[in-house]
């Protein structure tokens, strides 16, 4: 109500407005005698002064500042208007700024150009104990200027510096490329042997037998002359032939042939055997009639169950006779041996020669065995195939040479040959439990 009244009054006082009362109603006295108001008091400032236009004006200004970044009247013509000349004929030159470095028009448009700055976040600047911290810092500065060092810093400075050992494990490893070597054979025992023994650092002596090499073969066997990259014609032929003869395939073929041969000859001999046996029988018959008698006698003795006294006596007499005969034979033999000296000597010599030759053979065999690879373990040593290039594979020059065989494999086999490692095969995947294959139900119906 008071506001309405105020409004009426303000409206009435302003020049442009018509008073609510009709002009016919208004008396000259009202028009001529306006009530005198005291504008000096603060109370009347709001009541009787009309600031609408100023308000509007200021509002307008603030609005412009907020939204368009400054007063429009103060803006240049170029920023507000542009001359529409139609499509430009040529693309406008970029100038020094290339496309990348020139800012986009839309970015320029969208940038905040209001003169009203965003409000400050006061909380971000507030620190509850800022004064205290400042005081502490000042005090520390003063003390440091005097030379007094706080306890923590003292301890920090006294602490030993950290030795940044760059990966100790790598430098100590055996295959470190930059490792150091020293004269291992020149240095004599640096420490006292008694000390080493007492502290348990003495190394056990290596048994003498371990210093012998396990094989007499040389470490590196040079390839035959036919293995040269540009070989002589006949050496190459010889190497090719040896490779053919010793290769795995030919060995297997030969074995197969042999087995077939033995089968055939076996069957042949069986047929012949019959004939041979008949011949032998005729020869054997005459020389062994006595044997048959003895056999018959033995058979007869085995059959009788009880022996009569007569028979027992008879047997005893026979035994005695035998013994006497034997002793007399022995005697005569001994006497006769004197005359047989020469033949005895000859037979002894023959035996000795036999044993000697056998010994030599055995020794030669042993020597040959030393050069062979020993059987150490489940697998036998498979000699590697000779490396030979066929005649059409031979290269004329070093540039066109295609190397044959792998040295890694060659070295591996050499180690096996010299009994350094046992022959090994790549481990195969063995299944302990069988895999069961089951058809899916869906497919069972189909099939």
């Amino acid at each position: 109500m008071a506001a309405r009244r105020r409004l009426k009054r303000v409206a009435a006082s302003q020049s442009g407005f018509l008073s609510f009362k009709s002009p016919s109603d208004t008396t000259a006295s009202v028009g001529s005698r306006r009530k005198r108001v005291n504008k000096n008091k603060k109370k009347n400032w709001n009541k009787y002064s009309d600031v609408n236009d100023v308000d509007e004006f200021l509002e307008d200004i603030r609005h412009q500042e907020r939204t368009t970044g400054g007063l429009l009247s103060e803006k240049t013509d170029d920023s507000l208007f542009f001359l529409d000349l139609g499509q430009p004929e040529k693309p406008q030159p970029q100038g020094k700024l290339g496309k990348a470095s020139r800012p986009l028009r839309i970015d320029l448009i969208l940038q905040p150009d209001s003169l009203v700055p965003p409000p400050k976040d006061i909380l971000a600047y507030q620190q509850p104990n800022a004064k205290k911290l400042r005081r502490i810092a000042q005090k520390a500065e003063q003390l440091a200027a005097k030379g007094v060092v706080p306890r923590k810093q003292k301890r920090l400075l006294n602490r030993r510096p950290v030795d940044k050992t760059v990966k100790k494990a790598v430098t100590e490893a055996n295959n470190n490329p930059d490792r150091d070597y020293y004269d291992i054979w020149g240095q004599e025992l640096s420490a006292d042997p008694w000390y080493l023994q007492q502290t348990g650092k003495k190394l056990v002596k290596r048994p003498e037998k371990l210093n012998e090499k396990p094989s007499v073969l040389p470490a590196v066997e040079v390839i035959a002359p036919g293995g040269s990259y540009n070989p002589d014609f006949f050496s190459h032929q010889v190497t090719q032939n040896t490779k053919f003869m010793t290769s795995q395939a030919t060995c297997m073929l030969l074995k197969w042939y042999q087995s077939i041969y033995t089968l055939c000859t076996f069957s042949y001999f069986k047929q012949v055997e019959g004939l041979v046996e008949e011949e032998e029988e005729n020869n054997v018959e005459e020389s062994a009639p006595s044997k048959e008698d003895e056999e018959a006698a033995l058979a007869a003795i085995a059959v009788t169950q009880k022996k009569t006294e007569k028979q027992i006596k008879k047997e005893k007499a026979e035994k005695l006779k035998e013994q006497q005969r034997l002793t007399s034979r022995r005697q005569t033999e001994q006497q006769q041996q004197l005359f047989q000296l020469r033949s005895i000597k000859a037979s002894i010599r023959q035996q000795e020669e036999k044993t000697k030759s056998k010994q030599m053979q055995r020794r030669a065999k042993q020597e040959a065995q030393k050069a062979q690879p020993r059987r150490l373990g489940k697998l036998k040593f498979q000699a590697p195939d000779l490396d030979v290039q066929l005649s059409d594979e031979l290269a004329g020059s070093l540039r066109q040479l295609k190397p044959e065989g792998s040295i890694l494999k060659d070295r591996f086999k050499s180690f096996q040959k010299r009994n350094l490692i046992e022959p090994r095969e790549r481990a195969k995947f063995k299944r302990k439990l069988k895999v069961k294959y089951v058809e899916k139900r869906a497919f069972k119906e189909i099939t």
Binding site: S228, F233, L376, S397, L398, R399, R411, F412
Partner: protein, 538 residues
């Protein structure tokens, strides 16, 4: 009967051997660890003489080790390192599984490592022992240094092998120890003489890299571990013996010479071979300087390292294109180059005062210990065959004609001018025939003259002069007597003995017969070639 009965397999060879699995359990190691330990310590399985006894009656194939060897292994300090490593792996795996990365870092920094120095000292108590076994070590190191740097084996091992092999090659260059080289289809064989020991090693070609699947890499890596250590110590000692600084710097190019500890006045003193014969020594000295004063340039397509090594071993200077490798001292355009080694059929730009030869010339010169004539090795010429210097021909064996030529050259005779060109041969033959005819004619003429004179009754100019005592070759006479005796003895042999004797001689003469056969074949082959050429010409 009193007393305890003796039981079988309780004493003797059955108790001296132990099977592999038993040994492994005794040492408390896993099988790969056990294998590694045996390789490092040099303990090898043995094959017992009486397998059945050792195997306690069964014939199952088992690997046996000597019990004393395994007991010796128990005292080895590396065994504890193996066990520590096993624990380390377990802890690391756990840390990875729990994603405790700080623990992983800590563990990795403190990874247990072992050194093999004491093993090397134990296995090779003197330096000469080590030198005797260095063949194997060199082969393995050279082989590993050519491996590609993928993850199959540690990259550090490959780098270490590379360093050691380069050091070794530089030592051989400095001591001029190289004697023989042989290019084979597998690789290059070298032989050097170091401190009286002949050392042979095999280097693979740089461009062959097929990794076969049936080779156990772990075993080879273990061998390499031991051999790198050994080779390092041997290198140190060898460098020390020549008063050179070890480890040398900037070596990989093989072009620079090594720094010396002592002043250069002692350079020429290195007397590695002790020959009582002065002549031989002089010969050796000349042989060591075949390429002295020559300047070589190696083209891109030629194996650079091998050639550089060989040439420098014999006193020559080498260089190569800058883009191939560091360390090239001079360029192609250098005017003082005497020989350029090329492997292509032709070269674009040819300089006047230098020879363009194929690489085989260098190797053949080294093998024959003299500078061979360069004409046979020009570009585009079919090379003579590369003969193996490791073959020693006995009497009666087949010797290829090229080798005969070379031996003739070595003796200093004029090089055979009979080339394989047809026309020249024919000409020569004709000439020979003519010469022979001439000689015959001359003889005939003489005879005719004498006859004429006789018929004419003139006294011949031939006079009866007092007989000269011919200096009887005593040795020859003795030989003849012996031969006669032998013949008599053969005649007097009995049938059986004669039969045996014939058999023996047949066997002995077999080699000679084979050599003759091969020579005949060669001749036939050559004739065939000639005929072919003739036809082509016509």
């Amino acid at each position: 009967m009193g007393g305890i009965q003796k039981k079988k397999y309780e004493r003797g060879s059955a108790t001296n051997y132990i099977t592999r699995n038993r040994a492994r359990k005794k040492l408390m190691l896993s099988l790969p660890d056990f294998r590694r330990l045996c390789i490092l310590k040099g303990i090898y399985p043995h094959e017992p003489k009486h397998k059945k006894k050792v195997n306690k009656g069964s014939t199952a194939p088992r690997t046996f080790y000597l019990l004393k060897d395994i007991r010796f292994l128990l005292h080895e300090p590396i065994v504890s390192k193996f066990r520590e490593y096993k624990i380390f792996v377990r802890k690391l795996r756990r840390a990875y599984g729990k994603t405790e990365w700080s623990a992983v870092e800590r563990l990795k920094e403190n990874k247990p490592a072992y050194k093999l120095d004491h093993i090397v000292k134990e296995r090779y108590p003197t330096f000469i022992d080590a030198l005797r076994d260095i063949d194997d070590a060199l082969c393995m190191c050279f082989l590993f240094s050519t491996f590609a740097r993928t993850g199959k084996c540690h990259v550090q091992t490959i780098q270490l092998c590379r360093r050691l092999t380069v050091e070794w090659m530089n030592y051989v260059i400095a001591s001029r120890a190289l004697r023989k080289v042989f290019l084979s289809i597998k690789g290059i064989y070298y032989q050097a003489e170091v401190m009286g020991q002949l050392i042979t090693w095999l280097v693979p070609y740089q461009f062959s890299h097929d990794h076969p699947t049936d080779v156990d890499y772990r075993v080879m890596a273990t061998f390499t571990e031991l051999y790198t250590t050994l080779l390092g110590f041997v290198n140190f000692r060898l460098y020390q013996s020549l008063n050179l600084v070890y480890p040398p710097k900037k070596l990989s190019a093989l072009s620079s010479s090594l720094a010396r500890v002592v002043s250069s006045s002692e350079e020429e003193e290195a007397k590695l071979d002790q020959f009582p014969d002065e002549e031989e020594q002089k010969q050796l000295e000349t042989q060591k300087k075949i390429f002295e004063g020559l300047k070589f340039f190696i083209n891109r397509e030629v194996p650079r390292e091998s050639l550089a090594f060989v040439i420098r071993c014999f006193g020559g200077q080498v260089s190569w294109d800058k883009s191939v490798c560091i360390g090239s001292t001079y360029d192609v355009t250098d005017e003082t180059i005497t020989h350029q080694i090329v492997d292509r059929p032709n070269v674009d730009k040819q300089y006047m005062n230098r020879y363009y030869i194929q690489p085989q010339w260098v190797y053949d010169c080294v093998n024959t210990k003299m500078r061979l004539p360069v004409e046979d090795y020009f570009l585009g010429v079919t090379l003579p065959p590369h003969l193996s210097p490791f073959v020693e021909e006995k009497e009666g064996d087949y010797v290829p004609p090229e080798k005969l030529k070379i031996m003739a050259l070595q003796r200093g005779e004029k090089p055979d001018e009979e080339e394989d060109e047809e026309e020249e041969e024919e000409e020569e033959e004709d000439e020979n025939e003519e010469e022979e005819d001439d000689e015959e004619e001359a003889e005939e003429k003489n005879l005719k003259k004498m006859e004429e004179q006789r018929s004419q009754g003139k006294s011949l100019q031939v006079k009866v002069t007092p007989g000269k005592v011919k200096a009887e070759n005593r040795a020859r006479l003795e030989q003849e007597e012996k031969a006669e005796e032998k013949r008599l003895a053969i005649m007097m042999m009995k049938k059986k003995e004669k039969y045996l004797y014939d058999k023996i001689m047949f066997g002995k003469k077999r080699q000679v017969r084979e050599a003759n056969k091969l020579a005949a074949k060669r001749k036939a082959h050559d004739d065939a070639e000639k005929a072919k050429k003739k036809k082509a010409r016509k």
